[in-house]
């Protein structure tokens, strides 16, 4: 095995793994909550999950001495209530992970490359050259698409969390505020799902990217050759850093 280049810290690997689980919980419960309003065939896919949550919950309620009728819920609605509780807890959990991750990244703020090297125009051209032209990419550690995804996740999730909190504690806000929060939340959730589809596809659906999946989930490093080929600007940076030490 040749040399490995370090890409991700232990914290980043930890955060990413947890984010995946919490995102899955948020998306699945979010879709369960809105299952009846989803277009077919999605509605069928998630409606049964509401029953899957609600039926045991109603049995548990009965065992504990309160019948669902006393509580005033049919099994489907009870399942949606359970999904709402999980959704809110997962939302808070996701926010905590986000805070931990951000606190972990702040010390290396000098190394953040927010703006693409070479400028925006060049970055767009590079993206097209690689993903459409399949030419050798001239990327830094993250190409423009990846940068936009990170930005989108941070900003998008912050807004989802804020709008979620407004809807959760809606009595503390005016109707026009919760109406705005609801609208934002629905749009951002779907844009997030769309982005996630693309993110997962690009990571897992392109065989050439396998070393990166290994880096993100297991070793935190990728083979020298891979980094040289796919993220040459970062390879140079990493080399320079090594020389400095």
């Amino acid at each position: 095995m040749g040399r490995e280049v370090k890409l991700f810290s232990e914290l980043e690997i930890w955060a990413h793994k947890h984010v995946i689980h919490f995102a899955a919980a948020l998306i699945i419960t979010g879709l369960i909550i809105s299952a009846q309003k989803l277009p077919s065939p999605l509605d069928g896919v998630f409606e049964w999950m509401a029953y899957a949550l609600g039926t045991p919950a109603s049995k548990a309620a009965a065992a504990l001495g309160a019948s669902p009728l006393e509580q005033g819920y049919d099994a489907y609605s009870l399942g949606v209530q359970v999904a709402r509780i999980i959704h809110r807890i997962a939302g808070v959990g996701m926010a905590l992970i986000g805070v931990v991750w951000l606190l972990g990244e702040l010390p290396r703020i000098k190394k953040w490359q927010v703006w693409p090297e070479g400028g925006l125009g060049e970055a767009v051209r590079n993206l097209v050259r690689y993903y459409i032209g399949k030419e050798k990419p001239v990327f830094g550690k993250y190409n423009l698409g990846q940068k936009l995804w990170i930005l989108g996740v941070v900003v998008g999730f912050t807004l989802l969390f804020a709008s979620g909190l407004i809807m959760w504690f809606r009595d503390s806000f005016s109707p026009s505020t919760w109406e705005l929060a609801h609208t934002l939340h629905v749009w951002l959730a779907w844009l997030g799902i769309a982005g996630l589809v693309i993110h997962v596809y690009l990571a897992v659906g392109i065989p050439e990217h396998k070393p990166m999946v290994r880096a993100m989930f297991r070793t935190g490093t990728a083979p020298e050759e891979f980094v040289k080929d796919h993220h040459p600007l970062y390879y140079e940076k990493a080399e320079l850093e090594e020389e400095e030490h």
């Binding site: 809105s34 299952a35 309003k37 949606v80 399949k134 779907w190 769309a194 659906g205």
Partner: protein
């Protein structure tokens, strides 16, 4: 299945509140302790989980002199019920007879219906975590009776009957009718408001008579952007999936092409 409507005749109502009381009695809604309402005679001052309809008193002076109007405020039972469209668990049923009814066994108290209603009707009860509103006495209608409020009205200011016939009859008699064709957001309403005497009441202020009693000519609620998010959003996610599949095929084809050309 006959579609029913209730006509509220602004000209005949005397503001006696028999309707308000009978609604409470029929639906078993407890009384609310109230105090003097400085805004006017309307009491309780607002709809609530236990007050599903209110007699609203409008008094004042306008270009035509003093006025003293009464209007019955409750769910309008819209044909396009935006509350029903908003409800994520489909707890709100739009019955073919006209009534739009919230099923308390299904309601999860999310209050999306409140966001959607343009007439400010549904009310949330934090104790039971449910939303409540007028049911148009669907239980009475489905058993061949008229709604409680209609039965109680001493001046026949409320009339219950087949919706089409009511609209036809009142229009033919020269009444202005609100509710037969409101807008695309609510459709038409099963509560119809009619007047002859007060058709020009708002003319000195450039207002229509229905606006004078608080019925918007173009009622709108907050459902459309949320609805759009649901529909368009799902479409965007589907497009992303399609895009990924297409790209995968494209990428594979490119790879095959490269192999054929001798690259690796």
């Amino acid at each position: 299945m006959t579609e029913y409507g209730i006509v509220f005749n602004l000209d005949s109502c005397i503001g006696c509140r028999a309707c308000q009381v009978s609604c409470k009695i029929w639906n078993g809604l407890r009384a609310e302790e109230t105090s003097f309402n400085p805004a006017g005679y309307t009491n309780p001052p607002d709809l609530s989980p236990n007050t599903w309809m209110l007699m609203v008193y409008h008094e004042g002076v306008n270009g035509q002199g003093p006025f003293w109007l009464f209007h019955k405020w409750q769910c309008m039972h819209c044909s396009e019920a935006p509350c029903a469209k908003a409800c994520p668990v489909n707890a709100i049923e739009v019955h073919p007879e006209g009534p739009v009814v919230i099923r308390p066994d299904k309601c999860i108290g999310c209050r999306y219906c409140i966001e959607a209603c343009p007439y400010n009707v549904p009310r949330y009860d934090p104790e039971t975590n449910k939303v409540y509103k007028c049911t148009m006495c669907v239980d009475r209608i489905q058993n061949g009776l008229a709604p409680a409020c209609v039965e109680a009205c001493p001046t026949d200011a409320l009339e219950f009957g087949p919706w089409e016939e009511l609209v036809r009859k009142y229009k033919a008699a020269g009444f202005e009718v609100y509710g037969d064709n409101v807008n695309d957001y609510v459709g038409r309403t099963h509560y119809l408001y009619v007047t002859r005497r007060y058709r020009d009441i708002g003319s000195s202020e450039g207002k229509k008579w229905n606006e004078y009693i608080g019925l918007p000519s173009d009622p709108r609620g907050a459902l459309p952007p949320v609805q759009a998010g649901r529909d368009v959003g799902a479409g965007i996610a589907a497009a992303a999936l399609a895009g990924a599949v297409l790209h995968a095929l494209y990428w594979r084809a490119k790879r095959v092409q490269e192999k054929a050309k001798g690259k690796s």
